[in-house]
Symmetry: D3
Subunit: 202 residues, 6 copies
């Protein structure tokens, strides 16, 4: 007979581990053949949150990374709804469903309350750490779109249209990073094949 | 300059073809490595609808197959919501979202009205063809669960619990078919490996 | 002990379901990484048959869709022979092998006779429904080639050469559709990446 | 302007390399999710031919390995016809088609004649090297079936039925090897999971 | 012209993102068909580190998660060396190679020094956060082995042998968790198929 | 009870067969979605060794093909270390690790000594057969890079830079072959899509 915590943790992690098996739907819809999983996306967001967060003063690293790990956790039950689905389900309704799913997943955890609070902060963007993760969630997607174009995709044009949506108002480094990604991509358009950094910049 | 129909058809089919790329989420969540796509599921349902429908008197084959082809079409925009997601989104809300997505997809087609009417009949189960497709939608999943267990999956136990939910009230052949699948599966449980039909029944 | 029909149906569907696992060989030979399965191809043909068939007067929808579902069924036993194989096996011999395979598969079905008759009509193209499915079998491939080029493939040039082989003699909408696909593709050639419909047409 | 040989070699190898993309159809039909390619099968046959051939006196290693590399080469054009297909195409007809395909592939090679002669010896089994490759072609499949069962497949029962078809009449080491594989498999049947060699033999 | 940081970040993240494409070699060697990527493994370790770390008093969450995100980062250049490789490369040599790779990756980052220090703490296990991540790195693998057995694998027996290697000396919750995983697995051995938690425990 | 040889052969082949499951890491790092396995690479090298070797006078075909089959065998234990890893592990150290792994794999084989000697000749390039396999190991990679670019990859630019590193000093046919591949690739750069040989050369 075990303590409730370990029992709870295993049941929860069994759900969470399914995020390794769920491809991100938006890429699938565009025919990306080796589309990342939700778990891989979260890995990317958390890694960038660590690296970028440390270049910005006054952020709480523990809070920042906790938000990054939690931001898409509910997709283990909800699956990854593509943009095309959100139009019909409605973002308020989706938000509510996501929160209930997260509540159910975390129900038996000692500190469920703090996790839900962090997730609410993320959803509302009401602290700097939350807003940074939100931006990185978008910018990581741009970096990956560049990688998928390098791998061959010619179906990702739209991803590049609304790129400059105020990235840098709060975090100048993100404006720089977005511009950098954009420039790399533009350089590639005029070449038959992507070349190493330096050659692309000639 | 082309007639609007061909223009509409290509735009629509480009959306529909993405169903070849969307795996059925329920299988993914259970770790099935080569999970079927929504398009493959629809293929299975339509093929069984043809074969089974023809053993039942008084069905309209054209209507039956049209319903089979249309029943999951909206998932091209909505994606395939697993059972775990329906609990949080709510089946009424999901139904409404699905119908709006289908409406948008078919908006410019000359006979959108008939297709939406067929889909409504399916959703409400208010004609024999619709109810048959609904049953087959379930039974095709059982046949596939058997195939995935044969391929190795040991995670599909739950799929077998509520198997006898009145399959045969209206269509006795479905009761027989469900029982047949059930028996094949039970026979396999006592064997280290699935054997050919005959050997399994010895 | 069950009625023979359900026993027959399960054994047959077990064969048919393998079409979900067989990739279309022609795409594989050209390095398409997420090549569709035979089941996905049939889904595409049947869906287009429904949508296009309904824009043409005087077709029997039930017959049309039955032919679409049956046209490649024998590949569950024969596998998908690429064009390069047909040259050496011979189309008459391949036709005979396909028919015997289909006969064996359907042998115990009450209405095997009708299905074989429908398949013969398809093979001979001796009714409008059969000829429409035959055309759609080709045009669905073109629509998919466009999707694979959008996903990155640069190996499908040859698919575009004999495109205008009398599509529209009997079904003008197919001439329009083929031209539409062709135009979309040509527009893409002059662009580094596929853009949304409207931008591509600027 | 290049010498004809290099031109011929590149065109030929472009065809041959597609064998890396063609999964072995028999495994696909049984739901093996990561089915080997024809190229991987040939790799296995050639490696075993080297290792086993060297334990047998009086074989020509160069001839043995050349036969192993050539035995399935024609599948680059013909694709991998499963056993179920051979029943309908006929083995004589398949043999003839395979040979014509190979002839076409090798047509411009300086030593096409020798390769075709080696392939004919393989097909007729009229030299020891040819017969050894033929046996290994079967036994490599058994070793792989064991690997796929270890990976989870429960659908390969039939592969084990006619195992002892005179392996050892000419090459006793093959009788030993087949018996060894068989024993490992039998040991696994009584265990919930495959264990390391030693534990399985306790 | 951009600030060096954004330039550095993009170049670095382009390397890091390849971890989404590298399957964990140990699973591949055992035939797991949908083996997780290194990025997915890191996601699992970081998520468990968050959930478990919060049940233990006096840990620095920011440090804990930073170590989790960094612990396998060098594999973007080194690839994932399986246990069988470590025997021949030598763990000291592997350690040195990993550290040089990490140094090169982080060379231009403002806080490279802190990251390398964290990685050294991880390697030496010389702080509680580092030792916790090290344990979780092992236990996450056990949880995943259970998931792969549920998905069908019968080749993971060895993963279960040295399970109780002092998990709980420092962190009792890990002893409980390991025992819980072990029990779930043992329960499954006596069943033909994995059942839901409750049924398995009846 | 079996003779030691068959026991040894099965244990060894079980290791070797894992090469069918290991993708070549270099392609993965560049996002190639259907990257070849080590076994497929070896198949390609051995097939080219056969075809090219036969156009060169005075080579020992048995020795040539044995070297081709053995050259990457140790990767079954070591995995496929990408170029980026070799920089940190050091080529001498990697060489030593590879040799020890091969020694262990072959330890119980009657003719392990000859195989290790052949592998040493390959590593040192101290016979014509060894040098030819070494060259082909590179040129096969170029032919495949061309195939992956045809399939869509735009990330392989660097593979083309040091192409002319004295291919032909010893084997003029390789200079021709490399130039041929190069020309085909250059022709493709100026086209939106790869065309058939003849059209590309217009």
């Amino acid at each position: 007979m075990h303590d409730p915590t370990s029992h709870t943790l295993l049941a929860l992690y069994t759900q969470i581990a399914t995020l390794k098996l769920l491809p991100r739907t938006g890429w699938l819809q565009r025919g990306v053949p080796n589309a990342e999983s939700v778990a891989e996306h979260t890995f990317g967001v958390a890694t960038l949150a660590l690296l970028i967060g440390d270049t910005i003063d006054g952020l709480d690293r523990g809070k920042l990374l906790a938000i990054a790990m939690l931001h898409d956790l509910a997709e283990a039950l909800l699956s990854d709804l593509p943009a095309s689905a959100k139009r019909f389900i409605g973002s308020d309704h989706k938000h509510a469903a996501e929160r209930s799913a997260l509540e159910e997943m975390l129900a038996k955890l000692p500190n469920r309350a703090e996790y839900l609070a962090l997730w609410d902060e993320y959803a509302r963007g009401c602290c700097r750490e939350a807003r940074l993760v939100k931006r990185i969630d978008r910018i990581e997607m741009l970096a990956l779109a560049l990688a998928y174009e390098r791998a061959g995709s010619r179906a990702l044009g739209e991803f590049w249209e609304d790129i400059d949506d105020g990235w840098g108002d709060e975090f100048p480094v993100l404006r720089e990073l977005a511009a950098e990604i954009m420039e790399r991509r533009t350089a590639s358009l005029s070449l038959p094949f992507f070349q190493g950094q330096e050659r692309a910049e000639r």
